[in-house]
Amino acid sequence: MFFGYLDAGSGSLILQAILGGAAGILVAFKAWKARLVGKKAVADTQADIEPTDS
């Protein structure tokens, strides 16, 4: 699906899951956790390739 010409807003997108009720809260939590894991993986990769001062 084309993501549209509209800026949907990341916070508003994840909020939609919460607004969907109890089942949605779990979905929102999983998505939020996946995002944190993704961010950590990116940070770890950057740490590996960046030269360190000695």
Binding site: L6, A8, G9, V27, A31
Partner: protein, 453 residues
């Protein structure tokens, strides 16, 4: 030869052009896919038959540069959300939610959520942007949710919970208030209501924390599904349906109780009917429409009638009575200008109205005495419509003028207010084709024809 609609360009998949009087929607590949998906649903046939969705027919041949083309019926008048009453925006919001829910049930979504996609036809909201529909992919969230809150829900909350008119805000910023702005406007206890806690406070917080973060794929992987969108829509619908604005009845009663209203009403109605019979206008604009009585006469005679007034409660009451009249909330001393992208996206009210007859009953004394517009400037403005005018003159010794000038001195008022001076100014701009003196002689009706050049 096609002429582009200056208000239709944001969606690359679909936009409107005019071919003479015909309204044509040009589609690219993606737009055509959306149309193909929509046109096969029972939802489309049902919603168009009920007048909730504009009709569309595929053209055999698409103009050069387009993959497909549709033709729509031409709307006779366009109004904008900043010209609507509370109940109009509320009904438009409910229509947006209902159409989305019905479309999703058949695998179609609406990719945006703006009231600019809705127009009022015969007094009821109609969704006019066929290009907004496209096939729904499993796991995708509702892209238009944030836009729905900013352009529908927050303006309604602004009026219902904070007591602030949404029209000036939407005219100043058509995107509507942000969640953070709404949070600032709500009082402490209002922020804690379940409805505002989630849609305003939590959305503002999450927008601040997650600005620009990619989340769409994570939502899909986490199991986001259409049932969550539908649950959100059901709750939003309940929330919008319960929003009420209690200002409605007050303005109505106040106007009805004015002494001159009942006294002169029948004579003014008769004078207007004579003018309609003489000019047979296709389009009428009622400036300072008040309770819409004279607009209804013009509409009953078959004219497209635009009722303009700055008094939202009175116009809201007209709308709720399911009037056929086109309603515009606008202060006539500051009417809707041409605005939007390049200053032409949303044409000015006068450009959209294009009347064949102007009704200016019970109006000019408010312009002259309250808004301090010189009488000659009021007549210049009326003459600029370039069509016949039915005008009520109110002399300086009228009871209502006495009230309006109770705290003004003669030096603070413009000259040219007496009947003799006023008629001299009239003669410079109009030919008077009829006149009638009302009641106690302080009010005079004129039927005027603008002089050429």
């Amino acid at each position: 030869m096609h002429r582009a609609d200056p208000g239709s360009f944001r969606d690359p998949a679909s936009h409107i052009v005019f071919d003479g009087d015909r309204v044509v929607r040009l589609l690219d590949e993606r737009g055509l896919q959306g149309w193909n998906a929509l046109s096969e649903t029972s939802f489309f046939a049902r919603a168009t038959a009920e007048g909730r969705l504009i009709g569309a027919a595929r053209l055999d041949r698409a103009p050069e540069g387009a993959v497909g083309a549709l033709e729509h019926p031409r709307l006779r008048f366009i109004s904008y959300p900043f010209e609507w009453t509370f109940s109009m925006l509320k009904d438009a919001a409910l229509l947006q939610l209902d159409l989305l829910a019905e479309a999703l049930a058949e695998g179609i979504t609406i990719k945006d959520a703006t009231p600019y996609n809705i127009q009022f036809v015969s007094g009821r909201p109609m969704f006019i942007d066929i290009g907004s529909f496209e096939a729904y992919s499993d796991g995708e969230p509702w892209i238009g949710y944030r836009q729905f809150t900013r352009q529908f829900l927050f303006p309604l909350l602004l009026r219902a919970h904070v007591g602030i008119a949404f029209q000036p805000w939407l005219r100043g910023n058509p995107e509507g208030p942000t969640a953070a702005e709404m949070r600032s406007l709500l009082g402490f206890w209002q922020r804690l209501k379940p409805s505002t806690l989630l849609h305003v406070s939590l959305q503002a917080r999450m927008e601040e924390r997650m600005s620009g973060a990619p989340i769409r794929e994570q939502l899909k992987t986490a199991g986001f599904g259409v049932e969550l969108i539908l649950a959100n829509i059901r709750k939003l619908r309940r929330l919008v349906e319960r929003l009420e604005w209690t200002g409605s009845a007050e303005g109505w009663i106040e106007y009805e109780s004015c002494r001159h209203v009942g006294r002169d009403r029948e004579a003014k109605s008769e004078f207007l009917r004579e003018a309609i019979e003489a000019h047979k206008p296709r389009r009428v604009i009622d400036l300072g429409a008040n309770d819409g009585h004279f607009s209804e006469i013009a509409a009953a005679a078959g004219s497209l009638t635009i009722a303009v007034d700055g008094d939202e409660p009175v116009l809201d009451a007209i709308y709720r009575e399911r009037s056929q009249v086109s309603i515009v909330v606008s202060d006539l001393t500051n009417p809707s200008p041409s605005q939007g992208w390049a200053g032409v996206e949303r044409p000015a009210l006068a450009e959209r109205a294009q009347p064949d007859l102007v009704i200016a009953y019970g109006l000019i004394h408010h312009l002259i005495y309250t808004a301090s517009i010189p009488p000659s400037a009021v007549l210049d403005w009326l003459a600029d419509f370039g069509c016949p005018v039915v005008l009520e003159f109110v002399s300086p010794d009228d009871e209502m003028v006495s009230k309006l000038t109770a705290n003004k001195t003669e030096a603070e008022l413009h000259p040219g207010r007496s009947r003799i001076e006023f008629e001299e100014e009239l003669a410079r701009r109009f030919e008077t084709t009829g006149s009638r003196t009302l009641g106690e002689g302080t009010r005079v009706l004129y039927r005027l024809r603008a002089l050429a050049g």
